[in-house]
Amino acid sequence: MSDRSDVTLMINGRTYAISVEPRRTLVDAIREDCGQTGTHIGCEHGVCGACTVLLDGAPIRSCLMFAVQAEGKAIRTVESLANGEELNTLQRAFMEHHGLQCGFCTPGFLMLVTGVLERQPNIGDEELVDVLSSNLCRCTGYQNIVKAVRAAAAEMRRR
């Protein structure tokens, strides 16, 4: 299993030329080989969604994909959201509505929602709750996450 493959990952607009074993998961490559530790690993079974990133705009579980499969695709992680110290609309809404406590699941939720709202800015409330049920949070009881996302969606639509 020691044969390595050269892979080029494009994360948040930056190129990372890395050499990984074919079995290296995308999330391990993002965290360990590219040093972007904002993306978290919660279960490695594709259940909890803590490792959600955007791949060519679509939310995916980065624990269920190999790094080599992401060659040439545009990856976006939580590190891409803020502009320096300035939080974006969604991040601010999470802060405003107390949509996080320990913060471990938060990057996954932020990327899930970012991907969804870019594709469906007018998503209905019920469908939104369904989409958010993709990811697990153990601290908040979800309602503040739902409130934050609805508020962010409304603000994005206004602009």
Partner: protein, 779 residues
């Protein structure tokens, strides 16, 4: 974050300011243990069988694999308790000779990468002569069953008995005896971040730094230094950002001991991040109790006597520092809850089994005892043909202070008020009409209540009553202001999502006149903070918050003395607010920063009357108090599928003075969500061989946004006379009340079918089985 209200005196406490923790966590700049790099990765080889004798361990050539035989001189984990017949069982940090549960660590593989460590671990062969597993506490108790630890006859590790004088007579005087038998199944706290540790040896100092996901860094340091036999000063424990705990991270993790030992041995750094399967099978579990409750009522439905029996499955070993007695002893001390009952008898046992060890999990026994007591109230209400709310009104304590049958002092509470608030919010008469109409249409709605008290913020006296060798309780803080006027509050508590950096800063800000964002709360580093007990048991806001208030008052007094001297005015005439010390009613003021600067750089001005610098310490060790709440819910049960849908969930809560209502509501909602998961979905299942069938989150089934309804929260703020801040803790309450409210509602919904469901989680399978049973009985 808006500016403080000028001249309001209490500008910050009581306001829902945004959390100071959030920007980093929202930007991917959080620092969790797994984010740090180590030279070596560790993978643990774990027992695949529940019980047996280790015959042979074969290690692949050239691999670095550590077993118990290498750890000479490392003591086993053996927490002590000096009461209630506690048997001091020992857990070697790596299994030695025998294994006692599936997932028990046997060997540690060290390799340059996680993948390589996993490859080697797969090649380590462990031959075990298997013996039959004992997974269930009732089976473990049966006569003639093998003992899991020598010295624990019938597998009883602790047995506590309590009975008030004249108990039998009080029982006999009653008109009606009502019995409920409750089964609370096994659960896992399941923080989204599992356990993780990184031990790094520093060649210059010879010290080891253990960075780990813990709720109690100082206890972790003490325990590991004791077990390894190293100077405690040679070990630094850091809890960086910690991804939830809920109790699972407040006990000593055997694997962390191995990491520190390895770092010293290899003179390098080693890291371990458990995977989800390890967390589900081998991190600590919770609940798993049988409870039998007999209530003796008079003709007016007044509870005269309560007889309780608690059988707690504690797993294969005893957790440090609380010991596995924490569950049965909590149950015994607090079973009567919010009800006025003078005659009480209880036997509470902890029973060893071949299962993952138990540790405190949010609520510690109180979710189970509240479930039993609140089911008893509902069953009794039905027999007396009373509304569930009415039987509670007749029995709730309403005169304070009240000394409970077990000697606990209830300083004050608002049981009836919160019950009335919750029932009014649900509009009970309207609901009963709707319930009848729905039944005519074949729909089954149910209403469930749970009233309870939550003991919070208790110091050493409460823990000492349990006879614990390690008696937690007090907290110390250090509060200092540097010459530039920035403030640092160093605490022994160790938050992991509770927002203490914000709430403690609010408490301090009001005293010393600077904004919370200028106050840095430092926690989770044994080199930087005073010794403390960490964050658990709904204690930190009360105890660390109380100590923070006391320290801040000292700093305030010093600032006033300095200002008095510099402004040439009486300290009584000076107010501190909005970043300045001002002579009341005048323009004459000095910025707090200039007072700080003077304290350090102009000490000669004070002629030795005022000590240089600004740094104060305070310790707080309260007796404890009680929050209380009423949870009320409406559910709909589909008898065809057994599915439970929650229509409304109301919490009427009294946690005293609220420092940050937004954070309070977050704690309540999160607790209720866990309680709903506990009540309807989550279960760790062992098969007959002692193997775990629920080893992924898809099997264990924590709730998602689909299962959790909006939680409607109502507050009373009855200030506690027993705490310096007037606040009461509330971290566990959500999880305490919700299972009882939900199960009562499910039973209310299914009342027409004549079924009784007294087991959680009340899964669709269990509800369908109960309905099928009832239908077969009718035929």
């Amino acid at each position: 974050m808006s500016a403080p209200t000028k001249g309001s005196g209490m500008a910050w406490v009581g306001r829902s300011i945004r959390r100071l923790e959030d920007p980093a966590l929202l930007s991917g700049r959080g620092c969790f243990t797994a984010d740090f790099k180590a030279a070596h990765r560790v993978r643990f080889v774990r027992s695949a069988v529940a019980a047996g004798r280790i015959e042979k361990i074969t290690i692949p050539d050239g691999a670095t694999v550590i077993t118990a035989s290498h750890l000479t001189g490392v003591k086993p984990i053996a927490p002590a308790l000096h009461k209630f017949g506690y048997v001091q069982v020992e857990q070697p940090v790596l299994a030695e000779g025998v294994v006692r549960f599936v997932g028990e660590p046997i060997a540690a593989v060290v390799a340059p990468s996680e993948a390589q460590a996993e490859d080697i671990a797969d090649l380590v062969s462990v031959e075990i002569a298997e013996t039959a597993a004992i997974s269930d506490a009732r089976i473990a108790l049966a006569p003639g069953v093998r003992t899991i630890h020598e010295g624990a006859a019938r597998n009883i590790v602790v047995e506590a008995k309590f009975e008030t004088a004249g108990f039998g007579a009080a029982q006999d005087a009653a008109e009606r005896q009502i019995v409920v038998e409750i089964r609370s199944r096994r659960q896992n706290a399941s923080p989204l971040e599992g356990r993780a540790g990184l031990a790094a040896y520093d060649a210059v100092s010879g010290r080891v730094t253990l960075t780990c996901a813990t709720q109690m860094p100082h206890l972790t340091r003490t325990a590991i230094a004791d077990l390894i036999g190293m100077a405690e000063s040679d070990l630094r424990v850091i809890a960086p950002d910690v991804g939830g705990g809920f109790g699972q991270k407040m006990s000593l993790v055997p694997e962390y001991v191995v990491l520190v030992w390895l770092a010293r041995k290899l003179r390098s750094s080693v890291a371990w991040t458990e995977d989800r399967r390890e967390n589900l099978i081998a991190a600590f579990h919770g609940r798993d109790q049988y409870l039998r409750l007999q209530g003796s009522f008079d003709g007016n439905a007044k509870l005269l006597a309560l007889l309780a029996e608690v059988t707690a499955n504690v797993g294969a070993y005893s957790c440090y520092p609380t010991t596995c007695a924490v569950e049965p002893l909590m149950a015994m001390a607090e079973f009567p809850g919010p009800y006025d009952v003078r005659a009480y008898s209880c036997i509470a046992r902890g029973v060893l089994t071949n299962t993952c060890p138990m540790a405190p999990y949010r609520g510690v026994s109180r979710p189970s005892i509240t479930l039993a007591l609140e089911r008893l109230m509902d069953v009794a209400a039905a027999q007396f043909a009373l509304e569930p709310a009415e039987i509670r009104r007749r029995n709730l304590i309403d005169k304070f202070p009240y000394i409970s049958a077990t000697g606990l002092k209830l300083d004050e509470a608002s049981y009836r008020q919160t019950l009335d608030m919750a029932v009014a919010a649900l509009d009970l008469p309207a609901f009963r009409r709707r319930q009848i109409e729905a039944r005519l249409q074949g729909r089954h709605l149910g209403l469930g209540l749970a009233t309870f008290s939550e003991r919070t913020g208790y110091g050493t006296p409460a823990f000492a009553a349990r006879g614990m060798e390690v008696t937690p309780g007090w907290e110390t803080v250090e509060l200092s202001m540097d010459p530039s006027g920035f403030v640092e509050l160093r605490i022994g508590a160790s938050p992991h999502g509770q927002g203490l950096r914000t709430t403690l800063a609010q408490i301090v800000a009001d005293q010393i006149g600077v904004a919370p964002e200028r106050i840095k709360v430092v926690h989770g580093d044994t080199d930087r903070t005073p010794y403390g007990w960490g964050t658990f048991a709904s204690r930190s806001l009360v105890i660390a918050g109380g100590a923070s208030l006391l320290a801040a008052r000292k700093v305030r007094a010093k600032l006033l003395r300095i200002a008095s001297r510099l402004l040439e005015a009486s300290a009584d005439d000076i107010v501190i607010e909005d970043g300045a010390a001002r002579i009341a009613g005048t323009d004459r003021a000095l910025a707090i920063e200039s007072l700080a600067r003077a304290a350090y750089h102009q000490a000669h001005l004070f002629n030795g009357d005022i000590d240089p610098g600004i740094s104060e310490t305070a310790t707080y060790d309260p007796a404890g108090t009680f929050s209380n709440a009423c949870h009320a819910t409406i559910v709909e049960v589909d008898p065809e599928t057994g599915r439970v849908r929650i229509e409304r969930f109301i919490v009427a809560e009294d946690a005293g003075l609220l420092v940050n209502p937004m954070i309070v509501d977050g704690q309540i909602a999160g607790g209720v969500a866990q309680g709903i998961g506990n009540a309807l979905l989550e279960e760790i299942v062992y098969d007959e061989t002692g193997n775990i069938l629920t080893a992924t989150l898809a099997d264990f089934l924590p709730p998602t946004s689909r299962e959790i309804p909006p939680i409607e929260i109502l507050h009373l703020e009855t200030s506690s006379p027993e705490t310096v801040t007037g606040s009461k803790g509330l971290g566990e309450g959500g999880a305490i009340g919700a299972p009882a409210a939900i199960l009562n509602a499910v039973n209310d919904a299914l009342a027409p079918f004549g079924v009784a469901i007294n087991e959680i989680p009340a899964t669709p399978q269990r509800i369908r089985a109960a309905l099928r049973g009832a239908s077969e009985r009718r035929q």
